[in-house]
Structures are given as C-alpha cells and as structure tokens.
Symmetry: C2
C-alpha cells in the first residue's frame, strides 16, 4: 500500500518512542480515549505507523522555552511516520491537516520540525506541477548555456506606473533577461497593475521587436481573492506579458491551485513569511518539505536567497534550498528554477557554482549590483555575466577581471563591502 | 491619512530604535541601498513610520538560538509601525506581504512576534466578514440563552459513511445542537463526502421533522483546490446541510476568500497548523492578530481550545483567544462564535464562564464527555447543559449535582482525571 512518509525531528523531556507513537496515533485514527469504533480492521487500513527512529544528540534547553522541566534534558530523534494513501488521499489540504498541522500542538513535545517528506507517485501525479519550470523559463527568454540574469524594480513601493516604465527601459537596455516587481507591489492606488502593464509592456515588446529577445517581466498580480488575482493575470497575459510574482504564503494553497489551473504565465514564487516557519532550527519546517508542496501546486521559479544574503539565512541553508528545487520529484520537468537573490552582484558566482553542484540552471537577481554599478546598469549586467563565465571556466574572478573591465569595476565597487 | 498599525514585539542584541526604523523602512519604500527614486515626496506618501516604542525587560537568551552573541543580552520592546493605506490598499495579500512577511527574515533580530494589529475601517469594510457569526449560529440551531453544545465524530478517521451516519444518529438523539467531522476528514476514498452526506443528512432532517430542531452538522468540505471545495460545498448545501469545517491554514487566504463569496454554509474554522505560528512565546503571531484576518475572510465559528485543554496551550492563551473572537472589529456582527473544545466534559464550565467575561455565546464541544458518559450520550449532553446552568447561576457544580444526577455522574467519571 502506498504511503506518504513524513520525518519529524522531535524533542521531548519524555520518552522518544512513546512520543513517536502518540504522534502517529493522534494524526490518524486515534483520539485521547479508546473509542469503540477504532477497530483493528480500521487501524490496519488507516492508522499511521512509526517506521523509523534515529536518535540525535540531546539538547540542554528546550526549543519551546515554556516546556523546560527542572534538571531536564531533551531527547531528540528523527522519526519517520508512514501515512497510508487510503487516509490522506491526494489532496494537499488533507496532507497538511493530517500529517503537518496537529503535531505542533502536542503537549510534551518541547520542539518539533518537519524535516522530510517522501510522497508516493500516486500523490505527485494528482497535481499539475510547474507549467514552465526550468525549460520553459529558458525557452521564453531564449537564454541557454548560462544563468538567467534578472533585476527588481526599486524602490520597492511608491513609484508611479510611469516611473516603473522608465526603470524597466533602463534595465531592458542594460540587457537583463528578467525583471520583477517587488513582492510587496500588487495593485496600489498610486500605481495600479493595469497602469504598470500599460507602461511596461510596450517597452518589453519594443525591445523584442528590435532584438528578437523578450525580457520576462514578472508582474505583481497577487490578491487574497483568487477572482481578483485571475483578473490581474488576464491583464498581464492580454498585454503580452509572460510572468507573475506570487507571494505564495499570502495567497495560500487555494489561491495558487486556482491560479495554476487557469494560468498562461510563468509563476515566480516569493516566500515572504516563510522565515517564521523555518528560522528557529528546531521548530517548523525544512525548505525541502515546503517547496515540494508549492512545486506540486505549480511554482515555476522559486526564490531561495543566495550566498552572503542580506537576511538571516546562512549559506548552507540557501544551498540546501537550491538543491531541493533541483531535485526531481518524479522527473526533471517538475523542478522549479532556483532564483538566487539578495545582495548579489556577481562576486558570489564562483562560490554559488562550486557549491550548487555545478549548475547554471538558475535565475540570478541583481539589484544594487546592476543599478549601482559605476559604469551604469549595462555594465552591471555585463559584469554579472562575466562573473559567471569566470565561475564556469574555473578562472579566479580577479584573473578574469584583467580582461573584463566591467567585472573589474564591480570588484572594486562591491568586492569588499557588498552592494549595500 | 488612514493607517494600519502593526505592533511587533522585537528582540535584538543591537539597538531597539535602529531596528525599529530598519523594519519600517525595509517593509515599505526602503531597500538596502539608497536609490535615486526614493524621493522625499515618495517617502512622505508611502513610507511606514515608527509611531511608538515601549521597552520590555531584556532576555538573557535569544529566541532564535543561532543569534546568540557572546556575553549578549537581548533588548526587547513593543514597536508600533504605521503603514499608510495608500501603500497597503485593502488586499489581505498585500497586508501580509508588506506588514507581516518580511520582518521574520531581518538579520539582527533575535526574535520577533506580531502582537497587535489595528486596521482602519476602510480596510475592514472592504471584506465580507462572517455571513452568520454568533447570531446566525443561534438562529440556525434555535439555541438561545445557553451555549450551543456540540460533538465530534470519532474515531477521527477510518469510519465508513454508514458508520458516520450511525454515530450521527446517536449524537442527534442525545440532544446535541452541533456535530462536526474531524478537521482531518475531507473526502477519503473509504468514506467520500457525498456518501457521508447521504448517510448523515436524512438523520438530521428526520430529527428536524420530529422535533422542529435542526442539528447543525459541519462537514469536512475542504480541498486545496477551491473548485473542488466548492463542489463539496454544493453537495452539502443541496442536501440541506448548513455548515462546513474549514482547516483554514490548509486552504489559505485564497481558498477561504473564494469560498466565502459563494458559500451558503456556516464556516467553522479549525486552526490546524496554527500552533507552529504561536507556540514559541517570542516568535510568530498572537491569535488576536491572526483571527482578525480570518474573520475578515468570513470565518463564522472559530476553534480556540478551552480551559484545561489536552494540547500545549495554557488557559490564559485560550481566554485571550476567546476575548479576541468576541471583540468587534467594526460591530458585533463581525464577531466569530468561539468554539471551546479539547478535553471538555462540562467541569470546566464554571471557570470558562467566570473568566470569559460572563459570556454564554460559545459552542462547547464535548467528545469523551458525551460519548463516554456512564449514562450514555444523552446523559452526557444533559450533564454539560447542567454544568452551564450551574456556572451561569453561580452555584458550585457539586451543589448543583445533588439535584442533577447526570452531572453527578460526570463529576464522578471525569472530575479527577478528565475525559482521557
């Protein structure tokens, strides 16, 4: 019988084995009291089962501070629990509620983090997955053999539609492959989406006519109301746009599922709010788990920070996220293009390439490294391309910079301090 | 100018005032570097502003353990930040992404919890709110002057549709006002929703014919796909059902918004997964913030645990949640009926009533206290009603039990050990 295997990293002042059994029971057929209807046959078909326990070093302090016990130590283990597909079915709402939701409420657990999810093919096949993914992102931009290079409209918020059009023109002329609205930009009164589309798309289409290359612009179409989001989608698609930024946590599974079924756009996921679910190392979720759900729902491009990001996230966590997006669930088409951003100016390219498994399948987002380049945005884009050429050919950046003045300028401007 | 005020409880080894300013800037017009377009005029219209800082006692340890600094202490404060409506608009996805999402990623914050949200009337009025709420829940069940008393189908999962019908009959005959599917029960192959509706609704309608009282049955209609959820909604509504259980985090804002616009059912919210956002006292969200969003989206009934719950949540947290649901945003119609559950058998009624502000506007869910009552489920329901009569009239339970044998039996059976 097919099962979904969920791995929980649990922590308790009590007994690990008993806690594992309690989770398996509470999350499936069990309740606090034995009830007459919970027959052996029902349990055999429907009960979740503990299929593995791997002990970890104990902790001296509990992850939830209120769960401290005097003189306590906190045993830790990775616990695998198998949920029969008979019970979960193939609906993500059921998976979330049965396997993920309840565990965080269990008394006596002083910490719990969901660190693994192995879904059976029957579950995966029930979902659309990315419509474009890596191959579609390359096809639409015509970029092969190197990372896509993109930028973000700045300031985040407050620009008029006309100003957004002007920044777009500058970035398009600089040679970027991709531009996005800030994830916080949706449909404000001072720059409604329809006006931004009217200001931006002629620039994109004009450039396409001249060069044969269509820059992908991801518009902020999101709304908590799927009908509104779909209206926004249509405005973009009808104007010839081909991408959208979706702050996935703000629209939720329902918003994403609704959009994916009807969408003609590349769906670029921003994780805003994700950190609350992952930043404490002993609580919440690993990205490897979270991203599977959103890829099933149709994310094409997934923001994952980068080496030396400006946020809290350490490099190792970024690299694990990158790897997760690039790992097929069933096949290569279900991968999401990793979007590498935050404080990137090209200087991180060699380390990114060396540590990501030698992949150039990524969208590299530069903000300050492009707009703040001493030679202007065009030089900024060329510098980032050069840094990736150096990285892929294994030539140190400084060496490559001898023949590539834009890269040399970037190193001089950002090499010591970053782009901030 | 109208603003949304968000209160962040922040913790940092650095300077509180500088951190507050950084959050206000990053979450609105700012980026890591000053950019030419961020003009004074743009800032005046669109920038978020720190409007209050109230220092709290420092902590010796950081909430995020990796943010420990040698010999550090961690300053704490409640920081109010005002976001102009000009920037946020009235979309919940924008509110989430601008005011809530990014703050958890800020480097240098060793902890952050969103503890306050004051939305302007313009924002609130843009949303439907509950279609039924407290008044509608009373009207549909015909219960006035006391709490609604409800129960849950057990075992949670695994029963055939026929078995669900049989348990329903037992509960209906016992005199409950409300029955619900477990939040984990949606549309499994062994008991599809359509079959459960066919097994349950004749029992409900038959009882209504005989007694004039229609028991409210909340069916598990949820799906991560709003179209599927809506099909499930229609199955219930067309069979004469009047309520649905929605695991709100699993369907997300989009799923809830989509459903609310089209729904004819009372929407009973289960918070499964919420604990990961609130259990660590220095991270995540207060329920007072979270529940506002979901009430705007249309939650009619909100599960909030209860006194002496079986989960981790302390009584004080339950009481705060109860109070939050009962606090009007604009007027009384936008309140959600608090659903008091988890380990409830009636014994907690006096304390619930004394500490909830003397309110009987609640749905009191008994599982084991009803099904496991020594005199049978009917006696269990009568015992719970009696416990509330005692609570409201200020008579100690033991005194009231002298004249009320079902309550006396409950006290004997559950008084020492609870219902587990």
């Amino acid at each position: 019988m097919a099962v979904a295997r969920v791995t929980y990293r649990i922590e308790t002042a009590g007994d690990i084995g008993r806690m594992a059994e309690k989770i398996a029971s509470d999350q499936s057929t069990g309740t606090f009291v034995p009830v007459p209807g919970e027959t052996p046959d029902l349990k055999a078909r429907c009960a979740a089962r503990v299929s593995g326990i791997r002990m970890l070093d104990p902790h001296e302090r509990p992850a939830f501070p209120q769960d401290a016990v005097p003189g306590g130590t906190y045993s830790r283990a990775d616990v695998d629990i198998d949920f029969p597909l008979e019970v979960i079915g193939t609906d993500i709402a059921a998976l979330m509620t049965i396997a993920f939701g309840g565990v965080f409420s269990v008394r006596g657990l002083s910490g719990v983090r969901i660190v693994g999810l192995a879904l059976p093919p029957e579950f995966i096949r029930a979902h659309p997955g990315p419509a474009f993914g890596i191959a579609g992102s390359r096809r639409l931009t015509g970029v092969y053999g190197r990372p896509l290079i993109g930028s973000i409209i700045k300031p985040n918020l407050g620009l008029s539609a006309q100003d957004v059009g002007a920044v777009t023109r500058e970035l398009v002329e600089a040679g970027v492959d991709f531009i996005k609205d800030d994830e916080k930009m949706m449909n404000p009164g001072y720059a409604p989406l329809a006006d931004r589309v009217r200001a931006v798309m002629p620039v994109i289409l004009d450039h396409e006519q001249k060069t044969g290359r269509k820059v992908m612009y991801a518009f902020g179409i999101a709304s908590a109301d799927p009908d509104t989001m779909m209206r926004h989608h249509d405005i973009v698609a009808e104007a010839g746009g081909n991408a959208a930024v979706i702050p996935i946590n703000a629209v939720g599974h329902g918003g994403m599922a609704f959009l994916r079924k009807r969408s003609r756009l590349v769906l670029h996921a921003h994780r805003s709010g994700w950190d609350v679910l992952t930043r404490h190392p002993d609580l919440g979720f690993d990205f490897s788990v979270y991203q599977q759900i959103w890829r099933l729902l149709g994310v094409d491009q997934f923001q994952v920070n980068g080496i030396g990001a400006k946020y809290w996230e350490p490099d190792q966590s970024f690299l694990a996220s990158f790897h997760a997006c690039m790992t097929p669930m069933l096949d290569e088409a279900d991968r999401a293009l990793p979007v590498v951003g935050s404080g990137q100016w090209g200087g991180q390219a060699p380390e990114t390439y060396a540590r990501n498994g030698g992949s150039i399948d990524l969208l590299y987002l530069g903000g300050g490294g492009i707009m703040g380049h001493p030679g202007g945005p065009g030089a900024g884009v060329r510098a980032i391309r050069q840094s990736w050429e150096a990285a892929v050919s294994g030539v140190p950046l400084e060496t490559y910079a001898r023949e590539h003045p834009e890269l040399a300028q970037s190193i001089a401007a950002f090499g010591k301090t970053g782009v901030s």
